[in-house]
């Protein structure tokens, strides 16, 4: 251990929900997109799942909203160090979308892409079993554009760069294909509990 002279840090709070190396952002919700926030109306939004599926499908705002509503209440963790507790997102479970397209047995990974061209890769297993959503509400209100509105992917058990803003589609693959940050030095999976921030962590 390399102790820093004279450093005491914040008062210690026992918080079992805080992954290693993270701090509680409390009321803040920093915005960290690397691109220009797009001018995207809900009526122009669409979401498509394709690749290794039985029936590729595209939803628009209304047909996506016709799927059963599902909410996430819990925590989110950003690779830059902040975590935010007790957030509430509303949308539809990704399982409901995947039930429509029926992934093929050979599908193991997914590449999510945004209406901006941003991408993020994930193992398919991280998107199923009630652990991923397409979210369009935050705290009961429409999701703000700078936070990914009209709709974003939400995968709260991984670092938040995986939760692609302005989600446009997910392509299922039989291999892992690095996304935007993953090609820029970040970890391929991004599990905050194992502190998988950078490639090689």
């Amino acid at each position: 251990m390399n102790v820093t002279r004279g450093f005491s840090g914040r008062p210690r709070v026992h918080n079992p929900g805080l992954p290693p190396g993270q701090y509680d952002a409390r009321g803040d919700w920093p915005v960290l997109s690397a691109e220009v926030t797009p001018d995207l109306a809900a009526t122009d939004w669409s979401f498509r799942i394709d690749g290794l599926v039985e029936r590729p499908h595209t939803w628009d705002w209304d047909t996506a909203h016709a799927l059963p509503a599902s909410a996430y209440e819990g925590d989110i963790h950003c690779v830059t160090g902040w975590s935010k507790f007790g957030v509430r997102f509303g949308g539809v479970s990704l399982d409901a979308f995947l039930d429509v397209v029926r992934p093929q047995g050979s599908a193991t990974h997914a590449l999510a892409h945004s209406h901006t061209g941003y991408t993020a890769n994930l193992p398919l297993a991280d998107l199923t079993g009630g652990r991923a959503w397409i979210a369009w509400e935050y705290d009961g209100a429409p999701l703000a554009p700078e936070h990914g509105g009209p709709a974003r992917l939400l995968v709260p058990h991984l670092y938040f760069w995986k939760s692609a803003k302005w989600i446009a589609g997910i392509t299922l693959l039989d291999h892992d294909e690095p996304g935007f940050w993953e090609r820029n030095g970040y970890h391929t999976r991004g599990n905050p509990w194992e502190e998988q921030r950078y490639s090689g962590d």
């Binding site: 251990m1 450093f7 690397a34 039985e54 160090g81 892409h113 090689g200």
Partner: protein, 255 residues
Amino acid sequence: MTETVTGTTTPLTRFAVPGRIAVNGPTETAWQTATLTEIRRETPHAATFRLAVPAWAGHLPGQHLMLRLTAADGYAAQRHYSIASAPDDSGHIELTLDRVPGGEVSGWFHTVARPGDTIEVRGPLSGFFAWPGDRPALLLGAGSGVVPLMSMVRHHRARGLAFPLRMLVSARSPEELIYASELGAETTPVFTRSAPPGVAVGRMTAAHVAPLLAEPPVGGWEAYVCGSNGFAEHASRLLVAAGQPVERIRIERFG
């Protein structure tokens, strides 16, 4: 039925540009000890901290590092900071830190740190915001958002690069303008609260950005925007409105 991956959803923009450089490997992501060698005050709220990092892998302007302070009981706090110095072979790097109210890491740097202290760093990290000096650069920053941009300005000068480089930097007042004495003809400061006599007070506007986009250099500008989210949203909209292609705007927001 199976559909191929190509020709499906077309993004609004082609933002998915590659990073500018080879990404961090095992050398860059390893924690190493850095020794503080010098502290220089820049403004009432910002100071520059010079660190000796003997095994530093070298960086490009715009890259950042991760920094860790550890308390005696093992509690550690880590933050990402942009690198202010230009790449060189001195075995030193410089960081310029704002003192954040209540900030446990910036607070330590501004009130406790002194030359000889050791901390831990890992980096340089990420390639997206890097500028290797290979094309014209248009830099828009606010507050301590000028830090990674200054690394680019310093690199441009140190290498005598011929590519055009221009910087617009927003500060509350002349006293709060970081690196004021170092800024040259490439920089136009914008003051939001108070300005020297004869200089307008106000936000960055289309009038600052439009002339630079009206006659872009050969090959166009690569635009780099750094600051708070509010500034980044404002500045990136100014760039888009002035005709800068969306896929050639790289943004680093605080947080």
